[in-house]
Symmetry: D2
Subunit: 336 residues, 4 copies
Amino acid sequence: MIITLKPHTEEEQKDQLMRWLSGRGLEVDVSEEDDHELLRLIGDTSVVDVSMVEMLNMVQNVRKISAPYKKANRLFHPKDTVVDVHGTKIGGGYFSVIAGPCSVESEEQIIGIAKRVKAAGATMLRGGAFKPRTSPYAFQGMKADGIELLVKAKKATGLPIVTEIMNENHLPLFEEVDVIQVGARNMQNFELLKALGKTRKPILLKRGLANTLKELLMSAEYIMAGGNENVILCERGIRTFEPYTRNTLDISAVPALHELTHLPVVVDPSHATGKASFVDSMASAAAACGADGIMIEVHNDPAHALSDGPQSLTPDQFDGVMEKIRRVRAAVGTEN
Amino acid sequence: MIITLKPHTEEEQKDQLMRWLSGRGLEVDVSEEDDHELLRLIGDTSVVDVSMVEMLNMVQNVRKISAPYKKANRLFHPKDTVVDVHGTKIGGGYFSVIAGPCSVESEEQIIGIAKRVKAAGATMLRGGAFKPRTSPYAFQGMKADGIELLVKAKKATGLPIVTEIMNENHLPLFEEVDVIQVGARNMQNFELLKALGKTRKPILLKRGLANTLKELLMSAEYIMAGGNENVILCERGIRTFEPYTRNTLDISAVPALHELTHLPVVVDPSHATGKASFVDSMASAAAACGADGIMIEVHNDPAHALSDGPQSLTPDQFDGVMEKIRRVRAAVGTEN
Amino acid sequence: MIITLKPHTEEEQKDQLMRWLSGRGLEVDVSEEDDHELLRLIGDTSVVDVSMVEMLNMVQNVRKISAPYKKANRLFHPKDTVVDVHGTKIGGGYFSVIAGPCSVESEEQIIGIAKRVKAAGATMLRGGAFKPRTSPYAFQGMKADGIELLVKAKKATGLPIVTEIMNENHLPLFEEVDVIQVGARNMQNFELLKALGKTRKPILLKRGLANTLKELLMSAEYIMAGGNENVILCERGIRTFEPYTRNTLDISAVPALHELTHLPVVVDPSHATGKASFVDSMASAAAACGADGIMIEVHNDPAHALSDGPQSLTPDQFDGVMEKIRRVRAAVGTEN
Amino acid sequence: MIITLKPHTEEEQKDQLMRWLSGRGLEVDVSEEDDHELLRLIGDTSVVDVSMVEMLNMVQNVRKISAPYKKANRLFHPKDTVVDVHGTKIGGGYFSVIAGPCSVESEEQIIGIAKRVKAAGATMLRGGAFKPRTSPYAFQGMKADGIELLVKAKKATGLPIVTEIMNENHLPLFEEVDVIQVGARNMQNFELLKALGKTRKPILLKRGLANTLKELLMSAEYIMAGGNENVILCERGIRTFEPYTRNTLDISAVPALHELTHLPVVVDPSHATGKASFVDSMASAAAACGADGIMIEVHNDPAHALSDGPQSLTPDQFDGVMEKIRRVRAAVGTEN
């Protein structure tokens, strides 16, 4: 909610209103626009009786921000957020390519892939250590050992590492992880989001399979409300009636999120389509429409991957995708 | 996977096969059908080369159970599971009505509602203490205090209590809770499911907003694989393009789940529709099509409820719904 | 849009407003409520500048009816419409069971089924003559010959007949058809709807697979705007991500449509689920929640039906469903 | 279905099989691969008992083509179809930009826009004359007069014209129309598709809001089965639970359709998103991922357009989009 005061409102009156608002549990952020003062209310504004506030002499008007996210809202923070991962930037014109295998499987595998994707131009390494699998009987990841191997790959290549967390109790294991990923299935695991809000690590937050963009932003808000504003959003496909692709890449989520929020937006064409042969075209589309990065699964031997083989590129295929993305980004004029 | 052995297979041969299967990490459950022995394999059967097994002399045939859930599968357990909550039974012809407010708000409120719904015929009391809210700024529930008040209501009325868990670290607070609910947003919070699999409490598992029935069963399997077979499934509406109702009640989930699994199935018309005026007709529909129970939000003062007021019934309205459900159940001939 | 006039508005002023509204192409329906006159505007009200009208002295207030359907709107016509098909009534407490095969296949088949479903209590006979098939190579129906056979079955049993139209040019063939069905795929074939609006036959309008309830009502409005107000709405399943059933029966469409419109609402559990084994429970659910009728596929030999065999009941199964529905309807107290 | 014969099959045996297949109503297309003869069956192959055919001595194997579309299937026609619209080509590397207003409103409007979009590089002019509107009370288009004005604009600029048909009885009015559009709501109006199959005009077939890609291809097959193989497919957004955009652009439909069919694929970002501000980024994405064309709404005065103003670009904005698309197409290396 934004309360616009009339020009020349007396300080005393304003203070009275501010005290009343604080008393209702709201944080008030004061700014100026032309010769008006604007009071932006942060918190649960449903406690404010708008019609009463509007009747106050000093009040010009009250705008309800229908979007209940505040810290993630571009209305309040018009400038793009640039998330800085030890020097690797993403957002605000900085483009980042996160690549690596679905699951960490061995030291040789992860270091081998890390070197190849770095050579091709990737800026971060992804790899799953804790794997959320639909079946309790499926491979659940190498867990702590997987993280150790990622850290080795990071040391070998200098690439920051991105890996998924599934349980706040595992946080101590993530100390050397550079970006913590929240998977689609945990997008509304609010307890986990709150725990991550207390860290200062960049969080890669994936959109749930049936979540709206506003819900994605509310989940980002959970992290940001805790004090951690380093949130990267990720579109990874939504669930529709179309069976040919694993999910449906909602490509217009890119311009839509750029309109609604200042946070960087990454696209994951591997999970969105579930088909390696579609990754090249979907990554190009993402680059062309202004995404701040892409996240691609690359595996040295997709046919024998322990998870998600059918959607993984070989390192050679990844080289080709990187080439094309560079050309597309140059064409659309975003060249950081 | 079910391996049917030929009649008169020698014990020695069978043992050899059993050892080989165990060596692949599979549990084998032996049973008889006519004069054949059946080996039911539990675990990740993708390690078994079916064509090789089929070529063995002793093997009659191999049936792949395409459904990767085993313990929840009606194929393996044709008889309905009856979950017993301190004497209140659900499933296998026993019908249970779980009623109460969305959120516990005060001692007076929860005890007052508990008495009213008990008088009307409810068999369990529901009430939210930890509330998963889309917004971090919305009321998050009374937490531990809320559980304490539920326990008081249980003592006052004798009704078993059902309340939602959001974090495995809260488990110690749930000692006196009779049925632990997993909300739709946590249906695929696999870490939480695993933790609940280690308890022996009945679990009410709600279907996620965009999850298939098979995924719901896989999540039940996570709990059951841990050793806790007291799982109650709950259909509470799925997400579709239709905006008039909050979600779309997938009523055919009732016969579909009854076909696929032996677990009891409950319908929650309050969340499925988001409209109090539809609860009566949807509860009747659920009773008519064979649901094992319903879960209804009842609030003493819906207009001032701290959450989900628009979908809550008054106690008087609830009386009317109970009346009607009794008649419908008698009509369809399921009268426990 | 409803304009409420102030009490004691002068006739002359009112006439001036009425003329101005007529000049904008709007029909005005005048009624009274307490001591106010209400002007209900029918037509494209977007041409009216609401703020201007509100400023007129004689105007108390202007309510925009957000629903752009007028003739189908319960707000304007609070009383249930009862459609009368040569004495067989549907709506307003009259319940109708429409049964028969997906496709008419032979004289023996259709008359045999007609006799069986009539004996079981069906009130109308359905049968497809023109079949909308996804594939151009699939059986397209017996066409004109199929209609002839339906007419024979009608003569043999006295049951009114319901069959689908796909092309307005076929209308002359439908003279002896009692209820003309518009299939889901043609729900927004506006040219066909307009042509049907010029007839006076009852129309059974099926909801499209991905259409909202409001769009269904807008399509009903197309027919009604042409002067034909005998419209029966049919919920037959919508498209969602769930693959276990052919479609998802949106059962809450029944109370929702009853809230929005005065037209009768029928449920088709056969198409909604695509599984004969679910028809019994879904038909019971429909009867329990107040549907005005159901439409069920019955075939003498489902295994060899030329279309939709897997979802057809045998006549014996249909007997059982009818029995149950009668008991459910008695239980919920709607006994016409 | 493809039957592969063994090498050196005797002519007589083969003829016997061919006669048997013809007798079942199937067309047989014979070709060679290595030293095998292949019989491709066109028509309803469900009448063929595969296991019986496989047992014939002369038969090497039988491949069921699960896709029931034949003429649209890339398996049978590996080479891209290039549709030629009086010299303007689309498909197989030829890219086409179809631009113009949602509705034709006046001679001045349509000729003015036609000149502007041609100057910017558009290759065809679109404009609605018959408009499928959800409401019977909304502007339904200028109808025959609209087509006359399109023809004038074609004469003034040389641009081929594209406009929508809603009723086969209107076909005589479409004589000078170069590409006939079938709208999303009529994608499964099979009677209309059959009528268009008898013409030889290029058809632009839009995907229905809730139709799968295979259903889109089956609808194309309806047209092609009639003898008209000039079909252009159009992805224009599907219906999902996301409310921020009017529909959800299924961008992966582009590579998916290119895999499944040889027909050209066009993307319509205007209808897919419903927001003019997203057209630029979505058109770039479409060009980047290999679409054969785009279709964009351009209006001289979007704020006062009689339909779909919010999603229309001004001619100046369209100039910018064309610039960007040219650069993107050069970057991805498809430069016809």
